[in-house]
């Protein structure tokens, strides 16, 4: 580890901290204030057949589900029919059905798992209308769910409603994601990121070899890819590709933009709660977990590869180096983004363990846009409940009592995640059509399987790329893994919102456990780590931990 490496990490965090308040305040104005562009909103509502009225949690959820179903089907159709549609200068044929299903599910769930090679599989229209469109709407849907849950916790005397899904979706898109992405894309173009609709170029290299250079509307997709914590690269190499991430400055800005909205949402939440320290408490818990992860990854990757007695640079861009690669890997898996500027499969076993564990903690370390906040708020419920058990009092949060119904829903939320990951990973690990996709044997192979299903259910999208996931089994299994990890977790989260929204607020008394101080932050971190560790430690011990100790004994996989 070097001083300049730590300086990069420190500067990154300071910039994220600096962005948190102004962006959080802007989002509070957007979502809690009167419409910024009332005529535009009214016209959009008329088009959607809604008046923007308040919805119950179930109406809100069904609106989200209907919108997402529509999105999956439209994207599937675009992929399958791309040969007959415009903006396909390479005349790429229709995407195979299983891959088209996997990709449609992937982008509708904000995962952006890519079992395909973009340059040779999807047309410009598919990239722009099928995939980048989802990058906006799936991120906006995540923000909407977080807002609904936040309203459930913080509203007083407004009945059982949690907002209007269409209004939240529209406002998140037109006031937050679109304007920032527009200027962000212009900045990326200024740094050398491509933005064109030209056919691929045939060039002759200095050695005289013919080479095809892929082109395309990259910058416009790159901006929302990072800002919306989507992560799906325009090119296969993702942010390691010089046309996607050409300079150290773009690398730094891409990192900040992953954390910007999730971090700012904690401030927005504090403002909604009427107590800014509530938001900072969530931010502090996330920050502590982030620093623990980045320290572990950076330390592991800074050690020499024991088999080579040389720095572990396989899969890393030398223009970014070890520190920026370790930071990117930590940030992208903390935040369910999934973009990569280095190949996680080539990390040391312990260096690869951290991104995997980050995902398995439930993507709550800042987390996906919106998804991080609603995930952390469910952990807050668990923490308050455990604290209540410790002192023998009925748990309460922000003056609202937490009762059996909320705890049942919180458990449904927490349990579906490991259930889907571990059952599918167990299945894939014992059947030939699962293991035949592995490039590595032994514990590293298990890590590749575990990473794939964790990444899918966590809606992250990054991968241990030694796994060939473009087979019928993997496309279908991961497609449903992503859908379950997204929607079957959102349903109980929104049910909690509805349940909490109608509760009476009780004034804080001497027995009230404060949820805005250091003790609560410590307890919250402990709950997140213990739930994650208890659930996944046995699997991790058979994968990256076993590989680490085998490597120390001179055996590599």
């Amino acid at each position: 580890m070097t001083a300049i490496g730590w300086a990069q990490i420190g500067l990154f965090f300071l910039v994220v901290l600096a962005v948190t308040r102004p962006l959080g305040a802007y989002m509070f104005r957007v979502f809690a204030g009167p419409p910024l562009l009332p005529r535009l909103e009214r016209a959009a509502f008329r088009l959607c057949g809604t008046a923007g009225e308040e919805q119950s949690w179930s109406a809100y959820t069904i609106s989200l589900l209907a919108f997402s179903l529509f999105g999956v089907l439209v994207t599937y159709a675009i992929e399958r029919l791309q040969l007959h549609l415009p903006f396909n200068p390479q005349h790429l044929s229709g995407v195979e059905p299983a891959l088209a299903f996997n990709t449609a599910a992937s982008f509708a769930t904000n995962t952006n798992w890519q079992a395909y090679t973009p340059e040779t599989t999807v047309s410009y229209l598919t990239q722009m209308a099928g995939l980048a469109w989802h990058n906006f709407t799936s991120a906006a849907a995540g923000i909407a769910v977080a807002l609904a849950l936040a309203r459930g916790f913080t509203r007083k005397g407004r009945g059982h409603t949690v907002g209007n899904f269409w209004a939240d979706l529209l406002r998140a898109t037109i006031y937050v994601l679109l304007p920032i992405s527009f200027f962000y894309a212009l900045f990326l173009v200024s740094q050398g990121v491509l933005q064109n609709l030209a056919p691929y170029k045939e060039l002759t290299t200095l050695e005289g070899v013919k080479q095809t250079l892929a082109m395309g509307p990259v910058a416009s997709q790159e901006a929302i890819k990072m800002l919306g914590t989507n992560g799906g690269g325009f090119f296969n190499a993702n942010s390691a590709h010089p046309f996607e991430n050409p300079t150290p400055l773009t690398n730094f800005v891409q990192l900040v933009s992953i954390f910007a909205i999730p971090s700012a949402l904690t401030w927005t939440y504090g403002r909604m709660a009427g107590d800014q320290r509530q938001g900072w408490a969530l931010f502090a818990a996330m920050a502590v977990l982030f620093f623990a992860g980045v320290t572990a990854t950076y330390a592991a990757e800074s050690r020499d590869n024991p088999a080579l007695h040389a720095p572990n640079l396989e899969g890393k861009e030398t223009r970014f180096g070890i520190a920026a690669s370790a930071l990117f890997a930590t940030v992208t898996t903390d935040a369910s983004c999934g973009a990569v500027n280095s190949m996680h499969d080539s990390f040391t076993p312990l260096g690869g363990l951290v991104p995997l564990a980050n995902i398995q903690l439930g993507e709550v370390i800042f987390g996906g846009v919106g998804a991080g906040l609603y995930g952390m708020l469910v952990f807050v419920l668990l923490t308050v409940f455990i604290a209540g058990l410790m002192v023998g009092r009925t748990p309460e949060y922000l003056g609202k009592k937490i009762e059996a119904r909320e705890m049942k829903l919180a458990m449904l939320y927490v349990l579906v995640f490991p259930l889907i990951i571990l059952s599918l990973a167990g299945w894939a690990a014992v059947v030939p059509y699962g293991t035949s996709s592995l490039a590595n044997a032994g514990p590293h192979g298990l890590s590749e399987i575990l990473y794939a299903f964790s990444s899918g259910a966590g809606n992250n999208g990054s991968t241990f790329a030694g796994l060939n996931a473009n087979t019928p089994f993997w496309n279908v299994a991961l497609g449903f893994d992503m859908l379950i990890g997204r929607f079957l977790m959102i349903v109980p989260a929104l049910a909690i919102a509805g349940s909490m929204a109608g509760k009476k607020v009780i004034p804080a008394g001497t027995g009230t456990f404060p949820t805005n101080g250091a003790l609560f932050v410590t307890l919250l971190i402990s709950v997140v780590v213990i739930v994650g560790a208890l659930t996944f430690f046995p699997a991790l011990s058979l994968g990256p931990l076993a590989e680490h100790f085998a490597g120390a004994a001179g055996k590599v996989f």
Binding site: S58, T61, I62, L65, A66, S68, L69, V72, L73, Y76, R80, G94, P97, A98, A100, F101, A104, A105, A404, R405, K408, L409, L412, F480, L483, F487, L488, V491, P492, A495
Partner: protein
């Protein structure tokens, strides 16, 4: 021709599977709604 027919059949199954998943999610909403 056989390839196109196979593709159309798979399209049918994937669309059906997707709709079935969202129908299940809708049923899950109703289940959570009725939870005491």
């Amino acid at each position: 021709m056989a390839h196109a027919q196979r593709g159309a059949m798979l399209d049918f199954w994937f669309v059906l599977g997707t709709v079935a998943f969202f129908a299940l999610s809708w049923a899950y909403v109703r289940y959570c709604e009725g939870m005491p």
